[in-house]
Symmetry: C2
Subunit: 328 residues, 2 copies
């Protein structure tokens, strides 16, 4: 059988990652183009189109036939129509965009598949990453926001109107903080990067000793989640306390899904997960402590394997899923 | 085509409901037998076997051929093996029982299907009750405990090891009350009948005026959820405040599922739902207020239709589900 190839695109808040993938999951090429600081619809489309022109040229020069294009995007995406429908705090102007039409406008000769960024990440990890061999998994990305994707019975579960998977907006403290989504006490309000940084700032104001104080030298704007996770791995007390609080909230959200859906595995990716196994281990312990033992016994909590390539890989895979027409 | 018939059994904490159902969902006969106050495995089996003997005799005298027997039971039930595995606070001695073997011991000639009580309720409401016409639903029973059943893509979703559906044990206040399940801040700890009664007692101690005080005449042991819901419907302040608190917690749990799974409908049954549409309306409002608008728009929140017959009807239906062999 001749190999097939597809283009995968992962639109993020700061850049467009993309690449060329073969149907057996090999990444033949992968790169990114930054988005401009000041963004609007037109500018984002310019970057996407330029990225696509580049990768399609490359494929042509290598005589590789492209079977389709897949794109993962922030916001909730209607998989059938390609329209961005829901909540997209980092790219608010993107709501209402039609991803399929936007791509076909410049490149009418290709079939286009479009889905939510966390969904395509889940698909990639399921087929080629940490989720291989499982049939029921929850995939999370921990970053500025918290994204979720569900594989149930071996298929991406999108919900009745394609708005499923919003793990970040499950309430874990029902009388708690207001969330941008309109809800209250969502996981995202306690376990995202902004929540972590807020916690650190508040602890630093109250306490004296932390390696973070030395690193920041009074400029708290320099604080990043990478620095916090470095300090956490060194055993810094302030960082450890803040990470433990984040883990407690995150674990409660995971336990909600584990008790409700009894998945085989939870796969954790995104910026915070990059800090490594120590962090995942804490999550694992907190979930075991709180979850129903029937549901946590045998449950795997694993770090995502594909890193920041998961998005464009999963986007390319959208066109090769079994029974893709009937999926919801 | 000749009609087929099945026996359905619904084991509860205080009685065994059972009946004879035709494959097109008609209840030809339905009744119950109480369980003794002091219960153990042997006594529960005696009641189940006596109920089955009665209904099978009746079917025989009417010359109706029984195609199978279905049973819904508290605890998490392994659908394949028939074993009660998980958490069962109301019938703790029941864990470890094998439902299929227990029935076949006395009635070896029938194929037996067994599942969790909330799952069979969900199946009945989906096929014959308030869930007809939807493909993705969450079914809840509000009582001493809070049970949950999920229909996803038109099929009962059981999870990877049959422990799915535990809506009552999703954390909604992650630093909150300890729950019997080992977790913290579960929906059940805030939205079950015991939680409601505790709230009422605490309010009555602090306030003077409530119709409940007149009804109870100082004997707070007489307090029941029925009385509370009566007072709530009369507009009693104490009852309204307690019900509103319960609704707030329950709605947070529902929002978690709605944001995660984007179902078409949530169906609410069990003792508390019997109090009627006013109560359901409050839940509907609270869910709309907190949920992501993309996911609550078009969402139906409905009262269960089959009442306390849903359990044995759904149990009988277990044997007639499409593709039942491969279901998990």
């Amino acid at each position: 059988m001749r190999k097939k190839f597809a283009v995968g695109i992962d639109l993020g808040a700061t850049n467009v990652k993309y690449g060329l993938i073969s149907s057996d999951g090999k990444v033949l090429y992968g790169t990114l183009q930054p988005l401009p600081e000041s963004k609007n619809r037109r500018r984002v489309w310019e970057v996407i189109h330029s990225a696509m022109a580049e990768v399609l040229n490359r494929a042509q020069s290598q005589k590789r036939k492209i079977s389709h294009i897949g794109i993962g995007s922030p916001g909730t995406v209607n998989f059938l129509t390609g329209k961005v429908q829901g909540f997209s705090p980092n790219l608010p102007f993107w709501i209402g965009v039609n991803l399929k039409q936007g791509i076909n406008r410049r490149f009418p000769e290709y079939e286009v598949f479009a889905d939510n960024d966390a969904n395509v990440m889940a698909l990639a990890e399921y087929q080629l990453g940490a989720g291989r061999g499982f049939k029921d998994i929850l995939c999370l990305t921990l970053g500025t926001g918290i994204g979720g994707g569900l594989i149930l019975n071996g298929k991406l579960y999108r919900g009745s109107r394609y708005f499923g998977g919003e793990f970040g907006h499950m309430p874990i403290r029902y009388q708690g903080r207001r969330c941008l989504c309109g809800g209250k006490g969502c996981v995202e309000a306690y376990a995202s990067v902004p929540a972590l940084l807020r916690e650190i700032r508040s602890l630093l104001r109250r306490r004296r000793d932390s390696v973070l104080k030395d690193w920041l030298r009074g400029d708290s704007k320099k604080l990043t989640s990478q620095l916090v996770m470095e300090a956490f791995k060194l055993g810094d007390e302030v960082a450890t306390e803040a990470v433990d609080r984040l883990v407690e909230a995150l674990a409660a959200g995971i336990v909600g899904v584990v008790n409700l859906l009894n998945p085989e595995a939870v796969i954790i990716g995104g910026g915070l997960a990059d800090s490594g196994e120590v962090f995942i281990k804490r999550i694992r312990m907190a979930v075991r402590e709180r979850g129903m033992s029937s549901n946590t016994r045998g449950l795997k909590i694993l770090r995502a394997k594909l890193g920041n390539r998961a998005g464009f890989i999963g986007a390319a895979l959208l066109g090769w899923q079994r029974g893709k027409e009937s999926q919801r």
